[in-house]
Amino acid sequence: MGLIPKLPVAEWIDTATEWTTDTFEFLFDFIKEDFGDFIEIVAEDWLMGIPIWLFIIVVGVLAFFVSGKKLGLTAFAVIGLWFIANQELWEELMNTFTLVIFASLISVIIGVPFGIWMAKSKMAEKILTPVLDFMQTMPAFVYLIPAVAFFSIGMVPGVFASVIFATPPTVRFTNLGIRQVSHELIEASDAFGTTGAQKLFKVQLPMAKKTIMAGINQTVMLALSMVVIASMIGAKGLGQTVITGLQRAEVGTGFVAGLGIVILAIIIDRFTQNLNTQRGD
């Protein structure tokens, strides 16, 4: 052991992070300022601008149609949201919702193209698979550190850490979905003279839709699971209330806020699952 001194891996990473922070400062600053403002507008002006009763009714109606006119989901959504409002956690809920929406959207926008690339190229699959494994197994807390280095504290680093944590399922499922399309259908497509893009958009993606949607559902759930962790670096929302409960040893406060997250999770999960239907099934 003594032959090789301790390698300064931690120092290397620090240096790399510092270099990145300095070099891309303009970009990080831009994201921090403008994107941060935008998130704030969405959460505070748009979502919180909607009267609570109207918001609950709209979600209720949507739930009714999305679930195929069944009352279960509708009742759950209406009662659940009313409960959160009743506990005076509405603003926190809207902030959390915003965080989840942004993190999920960005994850999907990044994840689907990477998934397609992975499906089309063996090389890409070989490179991306270990990267995805790394992203998913690295404890999520670790992502908070560079997030703070790049974007200081607030919603933006919260979204950043959530995206890293939540993107892998979308990439994996997109890859899987495209690769699962039967060989004969690919041959049929080729035999009729499709270009690569035609094959992708007319055959592969539509056929992989169900699998990709399952991946997106996973991504949304993972983003939601980052809410409490992200609140440690200042992301507003229900997570913050949980942390407050922890710091003050108030079991009740923490539990109620946690319940709010569960309610939001169930509503989002059922919505995305019910939207996942395919033509011709």
Partner: protein
């Protein structure tokens, strides 16, 4: 080889629509190297042992003429599915050429290849290859959509194509809602909607149950009457091959072992392998009157009287004889009893005792249909072409043909 390249349709074609020359496919690494073993005549197994490469297709050469149904037939692993995919280059050939309309597909860049696939070649798949997320109509218009044809026009064409295969009422269903036979009709309609020059049908009916399969074969033949497409049909079913093929290529271990009409293959198997193959075939479906007829014994109505007729019958051991004129036009037949009676009465011609209820068939009548006729007939069946007697069929010849012997391929000189 000199070749005329033809792109414009109005010109007269003087090359076959598909020409395959020395086409080989070897799977695995260093496939090019292994091709030299093919030229040395090594077998598939030897090459696998020597190089670890699998021979898919071994120097196949054949031509397909316009409007012909050319069947490639072989057992699984014989390379027939690989061969059809080499023709539209779903699989890259290792060596050799495929000419479509005189253009070498193997040397085309991907853009030209795409054009050929869009305009000239359509494919029908064994497991149908339908897109489950598209309706029947959307499936049928796929080829046209890919070409960027205007929406209304392509819907119109796709509808026509679907009507042709009898699915006009199902255009808004999804493939999953249809039976296997109907799904393959959609597959056929999709291929036809492009109005291609060549249809490649890869075991198109093999996934269907026997009754539906036969129905589809009949329909294909019926459609072919009016379409006159060039069809390359792959099958492992010899009965199917014999039923629909104008010509058949038999494959074994990646090699074409014989090419010929159904009759040629049945009657003159090129080697033991083909012979074994055709052993169990129901010959009655393939052989025709022409193949089993014998040279007829006749008397001339103008020249011969009852005495000559009786003499001939006695000599040949016949109980009846056909009566023709000098131009071999058939007039009827006379029986031994009637003739002896006429001889006793000193009649000088056969007109008085001529019988005209002749059991007759044409040279192309399949043997199957001859069974019933010959069963009810007291005299040999006459084979007649344009009023002229070409030959006769006796019961013994039918049995002999079924047993697989005594068949004459091209009729006989008469």
């Amino acid at each position: 080889m000199k070749r005329t390249i033809i792109n414009k349709k109005e010109e007269v074609r003087d090359v076959p629509i598909i020409q395959v020359e020395n086409l080989s496919k070897i799977f695995g690494k260093n496939a090019k190297k292994a091709t030299k073993y093919l030229d040395e005549g090594l077998s598939k197994d030897d090459i696998l042992e020597k190089t670890g490469n699998t021979v898919g297709v071994n120097r196949a050469s054949f031509d397909v003429e316009e409007g012909e149904i050319f069947v490639i037939m072989g057992l699984s692993g014989s390379g027939k599915s690989t061969l059809v995919r080499l023709i539209n280059r779903l699989i890259e050939p290792t060596e050799g050429s495929v000419y479509i309309d005189g253009q070498d597909l193997a040397k085309m860049d991907s853009k030209d290849l795409r054009e050929v696939r869009r305009q000239k070649l359509s494919m029908v798949f064994q497991r149908f290859g339908l897109f489950p997320h598209r309706t029947v109509l959307e499936n049928a218009e796929f080829g046209l959509e890919v070409q960027g044809i205007d929406k209304n026009e392509r819907k119109e064409k796709a509808k026509k194509s679907l009507e042709m295969v009898g699915l006009g009422g199902y255009i808004h269903q999804f493939p999953g809602q249809l039976s296997g036979g109907m799904q393959q009709r959609v597959g056929l309609a999709r291929a036809l909607a492009n109005d291609p020059e060549v249809l490649l049908m890869d075991e198109a009916f093999s996934a269907l149950d026997p009754l539906i399969r036969k129905e589809m074969q009949d329909e294909l033949l019926e459609l072919q009457e009016s379409m006159k497409k060039t069809i390359l049909f792959i099958t492992h079913d010899l009965d199917e091959a014999l039923r629909i093929g104008d010509r058949i290529a038999l494959m074994k271990d990646g090699r074409i072992v014989q090419i010929g009409t159904p009759e040629e293959i049945l009657v003159n198997p090129a080697n033991d392998y083909v012979e074994k193959f055709v052993e169990d075939v129901d010959r009655s479906k393939v052989l025709t009157a022409e193949n089993i007829m014998k040279r007829p014994e006749t008397v001339d109505i103008q020249k011969h009287g009852p005495r000559t007729a009786l003499e001939r019958m006695r000599k040949e051991g016949l109980s009846s004889i056909y009566v023709t004129d000098a131009k071999r036009n058939l007039h009827g037949y006379v029986t031994a009893d009637d003739v002896s009676h006429a001889v006793k009465q000193d009649a000088d011609n056969l007109k008085g005792i001529l019988r005209t209820d002749v059991p007759r068939v044409e040279p192309q009548t399949p043997m199957q249909e001859i069974f019933d006729i010959i069963h009810d007939s007291p005299v040999p069946v006459a084979v007649i072409e344009e009023g002229k007697l070409k030959g006769v069929i006796v019961r013994g010849a039918v049995l002999a043909a079924l047993a697989g012997s005594e068949v004459n391929l091209n009729g006989f000189d008469s």
